[in-house]
């Protein structure tokens, strides 16, 4: 059996989801989503460079339901990833590495990112 064909013991099926692990994987997911958003960012800039027809086409896609969902998703991803990133930077200095702080900052992160996303979305 080669390396990649060995059986694994169950992990995701049995491990209880917790705030720590859920926020951590969300950080990774939002990061990956933003990576894809980078391609759309470039597409946006080039549509502006190319001319009015291209730009208008882009705006029409953006105004569609799919476009709005993607945009909202990316906005949330950016804000969540940024806030959690700051939380990580704080941990890198050694601060707040205890269960109470982690859970407390976790709640701040959840409510903060949802609130800021909604705030920006509805005021811009």
């Amino acid at each position: 059996m080669s390396m990649s064909e060995r059986p694994l013991s169950p992990h995701l099926q049995i491990y209880k989801p917790q705030m720590t692990s859920m926020l951590s994987i969300l950080h990774r997911l939002t990061g990956a989503a933003l990576g894809l958003g980078a391609a759309v960012f470039v597409y946006w800039i080039f549509s502006a460079l190319k001319g009015d027809p291209s730009f208008d086409c882009f705006q029409r896609i953006r105004e569609s339901i799919g476009g709005q969902l993607l945009l909202a998703g990316w906005l949330f991803s950016f804000i969540y990833h940024m806030f959690n990133g700051i939380r990580h930077l704080k941990w890198d200095t050694g601060c707040g590495i205890n269960m109470k702080s982690v859970y407390r900052s976790g709640w701040v992160l959840i409510f903060g990112s949802i609130f800021l996303t909604a705030f920006i979305w509805f005021t811009i």
């Binding site: 980078a38 502006a48 950016f78 940024m82 890198d92």
Partner: protein, 134 residues
């Protein structure tokens, strides 16, 4: 064999060259990931204040805004930092989930090329707009 280096590294020169040890060349990646993330925070705040020019549906307004030196410079720094950060972040994901060495190296190279070429393209567009190729 005589090694005249007086460095205190416990690794043999060959091990260092191969990037052995579980972190391989990881410490630099860890640090640069943090470093590139920091400018993005004030830049995001700045872009928020400029949102009416960024999210406009009027192409001329957007172009005029990009042509302002401050916005162009902010965009350039943003692009360089975020694309480098994205490359390193995706690199961690690839290293974690792709175990076959050949496929991992292929994915890592593809990843680097993806963000590198997109980044260069984005920088080109900003400069083209700034210097009036509009």
């Amino acid at each position: 064999m005589t090694d005249t280096k007086t460095s205190s590294s416990f690794q043999s020169p060959l091990a260092r060259a191969r990037g052995l040890g579980s972190s391989k060349t990881g410490t630099q990646a860890w640090w640069v990931l943090r470093l590139t993330s920091i400018p993005l925070i004030p830049l995001f705040i700045y872009f928020l204040t400029q949102s009416e020019y960024i999210f406009t549906k009027d192409r001329d307004i957007l172009l005029k805004w990009i042509q302002e030196p401050i916005s162009a410079i902010a965009l350039i720094i943003f692009i360089i930092c975020s694309f480098y950060h994205a490359n390193l972040g995706m690199q961690e994901i690839i290293e974690d989930y792709i175990s076959s060495k050949g496929r991992k190296i292929f994915a890592l190279i593809l990843n680097k090329f993806f963000f590198f070429s997109l980044g260069i393209a984005a920088l080109y567009a900003i400069l083209a707009i700034s210097f009036g190729k509009v």
